[in-house]
Subunit: 306 residues, 2 copies
């Protein structure tokens, strides 16, 4: 195999009560990527369509992720990468993660799969480090493993795939509001009340149980974020209106996707997820704010060959 074409999915990190640990993989939104073997060693980003992003491998998340992988394997050739960037950077649905995950997935395939998907997460994290200053896995894990994923911890690093109930659909609205990563970070308090932490981990434990037992009612009752949502929501005008609209339209719950400004909702069944999309869209129509909106089943596979 000398060339591979890939779908590199968008992802939702945090998922309300799972700040920094939970993630899930979308199916209807993602980048496309083509990777080809080339005679020179190393990585070359030859083309990026749709966004103005750096082509130098060392400054590009996909390039950095592949360079991390190539440190751990001998090759006699290199890789040329073309990216059709459909996920907007800064939208909060794992744009950089999709590129990093797709690149290491494709290169691994072209090398005959020396690495597991879990190991690829560690390489892709190096791309995330370039994008955000810290190697975090809450988007690259679902992009590579698919479904709902848990970053169990970083010392030692461990990611795992949780069970995904069949009927869950996601709605994601991206209002065209800029939330600067620095702002999204600076609002996070470094100390939190133990009482709130207990509520949060009670909800997270309940949510994991709900995934395995496919208990949609319980899932809905657990989709709360006691800690980060109250800090970040002021950065997203209309957030609580959109959340209420989603709930009123039948969503199991909703929250901030990653660090925003995208807002996600989870629903049981595609029909409800579409109603939820309509209701959330109405909120931003009324606000006069442009938006993109997607309804997606959960992609239980992660990055896929096209």
């Amino acid at each position: 195999m000398n060339e591979i074409k890939l779908f590199c999915p968008a992802t939702i990190a945090n998922v309300s009560c799972g700040f920094d640990v939970l993630g899930l993989c979308l199916d209807s939104t993602g980048d496309e990527m083509t990777i080809r073997k080339m005679p020179e060693k190393g990585v070359r980003i030859s083309k990026i369509i749709g966004q103005d992003l750096p082509l130098e491998a060392e400054k590009n998340v996909a390039g950095v992720a592949v360079l991390a992988l190539l440190k751990e394997v001998e090759t006699t050739f290199g890789f040329e990468i073309e990216i059709n960037k459909k996920i907007k950077p800064g939208s909060g649905i794992g744009s950089s993660a999709a590129s990093a995950a797709g690149a290491v997935f494709g290169v691994n395939k072209l090398l005959g799969e020396p690495f597991s998907r879990e190991k690829l997460v560690e390489f892709a994290m190096m791309g995330e480090e370039l994008a955000s200053g810290a190697p975090h896995a809450d988007n690259v894990a679902p992009a590579l493993l698919g479904g709902f994923t848990l970053v169990k911890g970083y010392e030692p690093f461990e990611v795992l795939k949780l069970h995904t109930p069949k009927e869950i659909f996601a709605t994601v609205i991206h209002p065209q509001i800029e939330v600067k990563t620095a702002d999204a970070r600076s609002v996070i308090k470094q100390n939190i009340p133990l009482k709130k932490a207990i509520i949060q981990w009670g909800n997270l434990a309940g949510l994991v149980s709900a995934l395995y037992t496919e208990d949609y009612g319980l899932l809905s009752r657990c989709l709360h974020d006691e800690i980060v949502e109250p800090m970040r929501s002021p950065l997203i005008p209309g957030f609580y209106k959109a959340k209420q609209a989603a709930k009123d339209a039948g969503a199991l719950g909703s929250g901030i996707s990653g660090s925003g400004p995208s807002i996600f909702a989870l629903s049981k069944g595609e029909e409800t997820a579409k109603k939820v999309a309509k209701a959330m869209a109405e909120v931003y129509k009324d606000f006069g704010v442009d938006y993109d909106i997607h309804v997606s089943k959960i992609n239980t596979e992660g990055v896929k060959e096209l």
Copy 2:
């Protein structure tokens, strides 16, 4: 039915990463209780064997729990309770919870089961409020539901039973050290670093996943307490030695049972749990501290008729 005899199990609360939310039910240790209908309405504690505890219903955890239940149902008769108290109060394995749970379970049976086990947890919590000043459910939930339980939250109150892997056995050692509840509480800091909270909820989410998938390796890697164990362990001399001894003997993990001083370990298989018991016992033998020790399968049923 005019009389019922019960086994009221001891329980382990917190289970390392699940402070205030997780619990599990033991099978080899517990109180015995007999409850009889009596012509006068109300509750009478007629006898307590083994411990010097108040017989007045309003001052006894079992009495208070039953009185809470009787507020929600009409009866033409009352209940007389005899308790054979085998769990030592203050040992950290849910002594008061066993009495409260057994009493409401038995009364509910004699009334023809008007209440679910989940509802009984709420009545039993009233007994816990008498014992500790706050209505908490992390021991009464496993005592009534059996297996591993989760207190998902208090507002609104919700408890659920998680899946229990078949091969888990518990070892519990009770060194005869007094830990005052006031001390066990006063060492808990009311604010915690978000970083540690994230590690804790990553472990808890992993542990819940490990229960459902019966992944003993993952379970072992999740049995850590970043937050409360470091605060409370100084109150239990020998704690880290006993923990290390348990680990060396093959335990999946160990930690403080409830607020201590009992120390629990979980193992895969009864043989290992027995080896762990021997190793933990050696530690306190060397210290010259008396102890009780138990090896128990997980009781997936909770309070049982004898």
